[in-house]
């Protein structure tokens, strides 16, 4: 049985916190929210200090943040319709570029595993893929409008340039580069019965977890698993239904180190799941190992630290960020 120990409760945002993300070395956490700020938290052993607050980049709610794989860049997206990329200079992230083009709220951003591409998605129904050129300028590599509604979330495969997007149209879409442009390689309509809020690949990229407003957690597996992921087809192998989460699930993350899945739910709780021992690869089962009453309001984001096994950050409408250490 696992147990989650609260390491810290970070109270620095004045309004709801939308997103938390660790850098790739696991020693800095970025957070952002309705107070239009981005805060960078330095991890010192098991405590956290707010080392800087970025407030210049956006004029409205900052909805998401993401560190590039090399940690050199940080990206943020905002309801002001822009994405902003910061570059690490002398220990501080400074604005490098403002990426304009989305019609309205930019909901999410994510760096590709190579760091070459930044994906953003928006209420304008489009997914944009930006590419960093030799002058540190971002070129639009592609604009794909494969959804019929608000696109809520984008996530990259951990090893390949395969992107997945989640939408208010209840569907998910997979994308890859075809040599000139980005194309949709798989469309899964009705992936959930309502908005798909979030998606997370597992450490080796053979599975994908998605969560939705339908209170379901779904696990997808790619076939054939011995081919590159960009060539595979994804199928749902497990559904954890609404008896477990009785409110919409807004966020999911899959720990690459422990294999634990964390979800954040409208019932203010964070839940941890682990794949059952043995079992059929085509129909795996997952056990709920713990329910943490983490917050007083909706949990908007959960994020596993990719260097410290079992370290989980959570963000909520209650304006708090919490850090848990899960013992296996």
């Amino acid at each position: 049985m696992s147990s989650a120990k609260l390491l810290a409760s970070l109270n620095a945002h004045s309004e709801r916190v939308w997103c938390v993300k660790w850098n790739r070395t696991g020693d800095v956490l970025a957070s952002c929210g309705t107070d239009v700020s981005i805060k960078l938290w330095k991890k010192i052993d098991d405590s956290f200090e707010c080392r800087s607050t970025l407030t210049d980049a956006h004029s409205r709610t900052v909805r998401s943040v993401s560190f590039s794989p090399c940690n050199r860049y940080l990206a943020s997206t905002s309801f002001d319709g822009t994405a902003v990329v910061y570059e690490l200079k002398d220990g501080d992230y400074e604005i490098l570029n403002t990426l304009e083009g989305h019609e309205n709220e930019v909901k999410c951003c994510a760096w590709s595993p190579s760091g070459q591409y930044l994906a953003t998605c928006s209420r304008d129904k489009s997914v944009w893929i930006w590419e960093l050129d030799e002058d540190e300028e971002f070129q639009v590599s592609s604009i794909v409008q494969a959804h019929s509604q608000d696109v809520k979330y984008v996530a990259w495969h951990p090893n390949e340039d395969l992107l997945v997007s989640c939408s208010y149209d209840d569907s998910i879409r997979f994308y890859r580069y075809d040599g000139d442009d980005w194309i949709v390689v798989q469309r899964i309509d009705g992936a959930h019965e309502s908005t798909v809020w979030c998606a997370a690949f597992d450490g080796d990229g053979n599975h994908l977890a998605t969560v939705g407003d339908d209170r379901k957690l779904k696990i997808w597996r790619r076939y054939p698993v011995d081919e590159p992921a960009i060539q595979s087809t994804w199928r749902c192998v497990t559904t954890i239904d609404e008896r477990i989460h009785q409110q919409p699930i807004y966020t999911v993350d899959w720990c690459p180190l422990t294999g634990l899945i964390a979800t954040g739910c409208g019932d203010n709780s964070v839940r941890l799941f682990r794949q059952s021992e043995g079992g059929d690869a085509d129909a795996p089962t997952f056990d709920l190992v713990q329910t943490i009453k983490a917050h007083d309001e909706d949990v908007n984001c959960v994020a596993w630290n990719s260097k410290c096994a079992g370290m989980l950050a959570t963000a909520s409408d209650d304006c708090l960020i919490k850090i848990y250490q899960v013992q296996l």
């Binding site: 019609e103 129904k125 300028e137």
Partner: protein, 495 residues
């Protein structure tokens, strides 16, 4: 239905606030007032000002609407188009107004009316449409042209014309404008006039005016598109030649692009001082193909002899050899290449041997060309097609890094032969093959230097005098108008 429009038009008009069955709910203060026939409040009894389009309602509702109309606000199609709220509503109406069936009915009506009245009907066909029709029917360009000519003449058209003839004027005027802009900024170290963006693509214009109007409109080339120049040729020059009033001339075009319907509806393209459109109806290639399918067997030999054939070679889709007019420089009109080659020769007075021309292909649809003489860069030219590359150009401009002299911007990836109105195959592979054969046909069109085109030079001299004359300024150039975002749009942002 909106699928046929270019990605740019669809993407830039995401919020469809009014469906065709509803009344416009946009607050009046938010509606643009620039265009003529904007909002008329309490404009009683002036039926000549009746809206071009009344927002469609069901029958019962429309009769009550009609009875209240004199007190109500009128919204014309142009208001709908000018408002960034809801192009899709206007699209529905537009397609109804400018459909293949409407065109056939209009040609038949024209033929009937011309029994007692002198009238002329002209259909202008784009070379991209011709190539698409030829490719899909496995015809040569000449055979396809004969088929199209026969079909339209049987339907009631007097002339079937090549839009490339009008494009000859577009190209000549584009270079003239390039020179003028360059001269006016030469000594001022004023880079604010650079670059010039080609403006022949209506999808790009729609986006530029609505999304970044203040930023982009100053850089747009004011030269009319080939379609718009064909409109002037027909409703101004041909009207004068024949002594027929513009209102008695019907002019339709066949275009590779649905967005051309939007262009034809602009108030900028009314015969000056009238409410007569220079282009009455635009149909897409795919709509022409449907008409040809419905028509069944067409006797391409039984053409109605055209009036004064020998005097109006320019009014024929093909010359005596069966060729249309080609301009090279890609599949979208060749504006960038034309400016470049003319500038090397006529601005820098150099030959192609003396300069080096290097090309960088940023992606399939973004080509940068640099012309240098020794170490000196003379010109930077780009072709940017598709929405992503429009974004790249816009971002460069915003950051002050758009150091091109001229950019040929087109909304469709692949350019005009791949326009939204072209005939499409079912699968992705078939589409690539189809586009390949359309491009091959298009590339096979013999290229004619616009300055060497005798008919164009003769018509130009007779009609305009010179490119700098007042009439040339009116009929070869136009204006673009930034559109402000509506208040409604700002109000309804939700998150």
């Amino acid at each position: 239905m909106s699928e046929g429009f270019s990605g740019v038009v669809r993407l830039s008009d995401i919020d469809d606030f009014i469906a065709p069955s509803q009344n416009c709910i946009i607050p009046m203060t938010a509606l643009p007032t620039s265009s003529k026939g904007g909002i008329k409040l309490g404009d009683v009894g002036n039926d000549a000002e009746a809206p071009l389009v009344s927002i469609k309602t069901n029958k019962a509702a429309s009769s009550t609407l009609a009875s209240r109309q004199k007190k109500s606000v009128k919204i014309t199609l142009n208001d709908c188009l000018a408002c960034s709220g809801c192009v899709t509503t206007a699209e529905a109406v537009l397609i109804e107004q400018q459909s293949g069936d409407q065109l056939i009915q209009a040609l038949a009506a024209h033929r009937a009316a011309s029994l007692c009245d002198r009238r002329i009907a002209v259909v202008t066909v784009s070379p991209q449409s011709l190539s698409s029709i030829a490719a899909s029917r496995r015809l040569s360009l000449t055979e396809a042209a004969q088929l199209i000519i026969a079909f339209f003449k049987q339907a009631g058209a007097d002339y079937v014309m090549d839009s490339s003839f009008a494009r000859t004027f577009s190209l000549l005027a584009t270079f003239q404008e390039f020179l003028d802009v360059r001269q006016s900024t030469e000594n001022a170290d004023d880079s604010s006039k650079r670059p010039i963006f080609a403006s022949a693509c209506p999808g790009w214009i729609c986006y530029a005016e609505k999304t970044h109007g203040q930023l982009l409109v100053p850089y747009l080339s004011k030269v009319r598109s080939p379609q718009a120049i064909s409109g002037a040729l027909i409703k101004n020059y041909l009207a004068k030649l024949k002594g027929v009033d513009a209102s008695k001339i019907y002019h339709a075009t066949v275009m590779p692009c649905f967005d051309k319907k939007l262009e034809a509806s602009r108030d900028d393209f009314l015969v000056p001082g009238t409410d007569v459109r220079e282009v009455d109806c635009v149909i897409s290639t795919v709509e022409l193909s449907e008409l040809l399918d419905k028509a069944g067997a067409i006797d391409t030999l039984a053409q109605t002899p055209s009036l004064d054939w020998a005097n109006e070679r320019w009014l024929s889709l093909v010359d005596s050899e069966g060729n249309v007019i080609g301009h090279g420089g890609g599949h979208s009109g060749g504006y960038a290449d034309y400016v470049m080659y003319r500038a090397i020769r006529d601005l820098f007075h150099l030959t192609l041997d003396q300069v080096s021309i290097s090309k960088i292909q940023r992606n399939q649809d973004f080509e940068e060309t640099t012309v240098s003489f020794g170490d000196k860069v003379l010109l930077r030219i780009a072709k940017a097609y598709g929405f992503r590359n429009i974004q790249n150009v816009v971002q460069k401009l915003k950051r002050g890094k758009c150091n091109y002299d001229f950019v040929e911007v087109m909304a469709c990836p692949g350019g005009c032969t791949n326009g939204g109105g072209q005939i499409r195959a079912e699968t992705v592979q078939q589409r690539a093959a189809t586009l390949g054969s359309v491009n091959e046909l298009y590339d096979s069109i013999p290229v004619v230097d616009p300055q060497m085109h005798q008919d164009a030079q003769a018509v130009g001299a007779d009609w305009l005098g010179s490119l700098q004359s007042d009439i040339a300024h009116t009929l070869l150039f136009t204006c673009y108008h930034p559109v402000n975002k509506t208040i409604l749009q700002q109000q309804t942002i939700k998150w």
